[in-house]
Structures are given as C-alpha cells and as structure tokens.
C-alpha cells in the first residue's frame, strides 16, 4: 500500500545495537562529504605520492632493472625507516588539508541549528556524539594515511619476503601507531575548531594555522631564550620526533626526545577533548 494511504503506525519491531547507532552519523556525513567534488579531488591527488612510493618499492626490489646504472645507486634504493618517514610526512600534509575541509562542517551546523537536544534526547551520550564525529574524520584521514601506508608496507614485505618482514615489522607498527596518533590529534583540532568557530572558512583556516602558529611560537621561545625544549610544544616537531623514534631514525641530541613529545601530544589531545566536552551540551545553563 502507498505510504500516503497507509497512515502512521508506531514502530514496535526490534532495535539495532548501540554500535550500529554509533555508525549512523558517520555514514550520513561521509555520504555528504563524498558528494563534494573538492573532497573527491583531494582524495585522488593524495594517492599520487603513494603510487610513486609503490613504484619506488618495486624498483628497489628489482635490482636487475637498474644494474646498468652502477653500484652507487644501491644506497638510494633502500626501503627503511627514512623512506617511510618521508612518505608519512608527505601524506600528513594531505591529511591536514582534508581535515581543514571536512572538519569545520562537523559540529558547527549542529550548534547553529540547535540540533544537540535532538541527538542527546536519543540513546546517544555526549561521548558517543564526540566519538561519532571523530569516526568521520578518522575514517576519511585514514584513507590517505594508514591505508596507503600499510599497503606500501605489505607490498614491500610481500616482495622482499619473510626475512625482511621479521627484521622490519616495527616499521608497520610505526606507520599504524604514528599515523593514528597524527589523525587523532588533527581530528581533535578540527572538531574543536568547528565547535568554537561558526564560520566554516575561518574554522578551516584555524586548523591549518594551529600547527603553524604553535610552531612559530615554539621557535620564537627557542630563539629568545636560546633553548631547544620549546620545540616540544610544536605539534609538527612533536609528531616527527615520535615517528622518528618508532621508525628507528636518529634525533639530534640537543632536541627534545620522543617521550616528552608523546606526553605533550597526549596532554594536547586531552585538553582539546575537555574543550569539546565543555562546548557540547544539550542545553545552555545560565548559572
């Protein structure tokens, strides 16, 4: 029977699980994001560098193809921590741009249209809401970071064989954990910016500026006081230091170590979460 003839009847059948409900908002948001041409173009462009890296891995593992070029070239064709560090740094730029495009539209519209009471009057807590919104960015950013990173690692392990894998498994773990740390931090910055800044363009610019402003401030402190410890508060450096440690790359002795940087990044994420939780309330209470 046609819907308009049937009339309204209460729904009395079974309900979906909590996990399924949590994925509803990300599903709707991904649908909306992927209908934007700019996001699609960014996703396509961000695949160029991983494709080049894949070609590089192929060449590195097929020495017969460049035998004529002489032995000196061998050092340029080694797949190690340095190779994956360069790959991760390049991909992190795409991820940051994607976050600045997709992030501002996540929370600001809900706040502007007073939609939070509608969400929070349903079986969805504030934590669930934040996690749902975060899943949107984690899913999107992992497409340009973790997924190609792990595919490259798998490709190298597949071509180079089991021996290489057992000697270098930590590189796979470093790609996964390092990128996860990065996209969680970037997602929290983008969400907080979306929650506090109403205008989409300004919020997007703020996501990009956040990293540059803190980097500038840290360098200024270092120069004025002739110290190096302020680099800890530069998120770009802090992430690089943690990645370097995990990828077994040396960090200069006078610079802050990976442990301090990891502590700063965790504290930063905690602070951003607290700011988000403070802003996201079903009702504004005037005390």
């Amino acid at each position: 029977m046609a819907v308009y003839r049937r009339g309204y009847q209460r729904y009395t059948e079974g309900l979906t699980s909590h996990a399924t409900r949590m994925m509803v908002m990300p599903r709707f948001t991904w649908e909306a994001l992927l209908s934007q041409k700019f996001v699609l173009i960014l996703l396509v462009v961000s695949m160029f560098w991983p494709l080049l890296c894949a070609g590089y891995i192929y060449l590195a593992n097929h020495s017969e193809l460049w035998q004529g070029l002489g032995g000196g070239f061998k050092k340029y064709f080694s797949i190690n921590g340095d190779f994956f560090a360069i790959f991760m740094k390049a991909q992190s730029v795409y991820a940051l741009i994607l976050a600045s495009v997709a992030g501002p539209g996540l929370i600001a519209p809900d706040l502007a249209n007073n939609a939070l009471p509608l969400y929070f009057s349903r079986p969805l807590t504030r934590g669930d809401y934040i996690l749902s919104r975060m899943i949107v960015l984690l899913g999107l950013l992992s497409l340009v970071t973790i997924v190609p990173g792990m595919l490259l690692f798998a490709m190298q392990a597949g071509i180079a064989g089991g021996d290489w894998f057992w000697k270098h498994w930590y590189l796979g773990a470093a790609i996964f954990v390092g990128f996860t740390l990065y996209i969680v931090t970037v997602s929290l910055v983008a969400m907080t910016s979306s929650a506090y800044v109403k205008w989409r363009v300004v919020a997007g610019a703020l996501v990009l500026a956040f990293f540059f402003l803190l980097a500038g401030a840290a360098e200024m402190v270092n120069s004025v006081f002739r110290v190096e410890w302020a680099s800890t508060f530069n998120p770009g450096y802090a992430l690089g230091a943690v990645w370097a440690e995990m990828l077994d790359i040396e960090i200069p002795d006078d610079k802050p170590g990976a442990f301090e940087c990891a502590v700063f990044l965790i504290a930063l994420s905690g602070g951003l979460l607290a700011l988000l939780a403070r802003k996201l309330r079903a009702v504004e209470v005037v005390k």
Partner: protein
C-alpha cells in the same frame, strides 16, 4: 499499573540556584495513552523539569523516573522510550525532511529500511508529505514545528515530551497540532507530556495537569475527574416568575442559587437527571432560555494555583446561603 513519570523529592540546582525544590508526583499510567499538562508561570521550573526527565541535568537530591527507569543513571533506557520536541528551532542544516527524519529514526535504533519507511509515513501523517524532499531550512515556522513533532514520534516512543508545540502557529495549524496530539494518545496509545503557556491547548488535550510555581508543585489535578464533576454543575437562565424555583429544586433534591433576575446556578446530585430541570421549569411555568454545564476553566484553576485569584467561580456558591442573593 506503574506511573509514566515518577518524581520523588526531586531537587535540581543550576549553579547556586535551586530551580526544583523537592517536588514529588506520580503522573500518567503506563500504556494507557494519557496526556499530562505541565503549567506554570515563567521561571517556575517547567523546562528544568523536562530537561531533568531527559537526563540533561543531574538531580542534586531525590530522583526522577520514567516508565520505571531512573532518568539520570539509566538515561539510555529512558531515551530509547521517549520522543522530545524542543521549544526552539532544532533541526539539522542542509538536510531534506526525509533525510533528517531517517537520521533521527536510525539514531533511535530503527534499521535502515524501517527508518526510511517511517520517515515517509510520519511526514505524510503530520501534513508534510508533499514537501518532504525540501530542505528543512526553507520551511515556514509552522512546517518546522510539524517537522519537530515528526522527529519526536518517528520511532514510535511510549512517551512524547512536547515543549510549547503550538508556539507561533496560525489558528488552523494550531488546531491541526492539537488534533495530532489527541490522535497520538487516543489512537496510538502514546503518553504525552505537554508543556504550554496556552491553557486552552492543555485543557483540550490533557487528562492530568501539574502546576509549578517557584520550583514547587502548587496544584495537581485530574482534569478528567474535574470534567465529570463539572457535568453536575448547571447554569440556568429562565424567563418568568422564578420565586418558587429554589423550593422546587430543593424538593427535587437539587440545590440552586439565583445570581440575578432569571439566572440560576444549580448543583445536581448524582441521582438527579438533567432532564428533570425541564419538567420542573414546565411545572413552574418558566421558559428556559439557556442551560449550560458551568465548569471551572483551566485558566481559573491555574490563576488560583499561582495566587492571582483566591477562589474559582465554582467554589463561590458553597459560601453563600441558598435562595436569592
């Protein structure tokens, strides 16, 4: 039968201010499809009570339960059973009404296919069928109100909390909204908690009413019982010599008071039929011009509860002697 809403010594503080000051009540009957009116002057604590029932505020003391579940510690169970229509504009930008309702239904736990079906069904039900593919941002105020109602009932909740549902509606849309709320309780068995400043709306829809003032319950009434009792209270206008009417009424077992020439207020005992008044008037050679069931309006009950009048008109005759005033 368990109550729909059970509030026990509930105290809610927002900052340093105590908004709800130890209120207790049991409202509605689970599964009975009753409507409860929540009334009170501005700042009485109505919205705070609703928000506490929705689990938005943690009680400072006491507890609030909906359908047997604690509103704060068992918020997930409570929220799975209720629908909420907020007072202010609440929607999701850049979404069509169908997409908006499908999202709301899926978050409430409906599977994808069922959510889509119910979204269409409920939009036709509230009269937005033809404009269901328009973005909600382009809707008029009345249409937005209907869309808000639709999202509150799309998942078929047991209790629907409506905060000022007729705000900003033109008379025709207001009547449509009232009709929909009546259908919700009478045809679909939903319980309704209606918070409104428009007493006529509450009077038309609700079976029970709670009046709040300064964070306390100052009156709780069963409007259904009130309506039944009011049926025995009659206002009679007659033409002719009515000097013997008081005695005739007393002989018939009723009591009457003449207010002015030809205007009578009569209390009929349960065993005296209203038809006997016609026979009595005929015997006394009186022509009946008007016979109405006089009742206290909700407005009168409300004004008395909040202290603006000392007694309702119905309470007046009990204080005057029988006979001509």
């Amino acid at each position: 039968m368990s109550p729909v809403i059970e509030v026990d010594s509930l105290r809610v503080k927002l900052g340093r201010r105590e908004i709800l000051q130890g209120i207790s009540c049991r409202l509605g009957v689970s599964g009975a499809g009753k409507a409860i009116g929540l009334l009170g002057p501005n700042g009485a604590g109505k919205s705070t009570l609703i928000q506490t029932l929705l689990g938005f505020h943690k009680p400072f003391a006491g507890r609030a339960r909906i359908l047997g579940f604690d509103c704060y510690s068992q918020a997930r169970e409570v929220k799975a059973r209720i629908g909420y229509m907020p007072e202010n504009d609440s929607f999701i930008g850049n979404m069509t009404a169908v997409a908006f309702l499908r999202l709301m239904a899926e978050i409430s736990g409906l599977p994808k296919a069922a959510a889509l079906e119910k979204a269409h069904e409920v939009l036709f039900h509230v009269g937005l069928g033809e404009s269901r593919y328009r973005q909600i941002g382009t809707y008029s105020l009345g249409m937005k109100q209907m869309a808000k109602l639709a999202q509150a009932i799309v998942h078929g909740p047991e209790l629907v909390i409506l905060d000022e549902p007729t705000n900003g509606l033109d008379p025709a849309a207001r009547l449509r909204m009232i009709q929909l709320i009546k259908e919700m309780k009478e045809q679909h068995g939903m319980n309704v908690l209606l918070c409104s400043h428009l007493l006529t709306d509450v009077e038309q829809v609700c079976d029970e009413v709670v009046i709040l003032k300064d964070g306390k319950i100052v009156h709780q009434a069963d409007l259904e019982a009130e309506r039944k009792s009011n049926r025995r209270f009659v206002q009679l206008d007659v033409i002719g010599d009515d000097r013997n009417l008081a005695n005739a009424l007393r002989e018939a077992g009723a009591e009457g008071v003449s207010e002015t020439q030809g205007q009578w207020r009569i209390v009929l005992p349960a065993d005296v039929e209203i038809g006997s008044l016609w026979r009595l008037a005929s015997r006394e050679r009186l022509q009946i011009r008007k016979l109405t069931h006089r009742k206290d309006t909700l407005e009168e009950i409300f004004l008395k509860a909040v202290g603006h009048i000392r007694q309702t008109p119905r309470e007046t005759p009990t204080e005057v002697p029988h006979g001509r005033l």
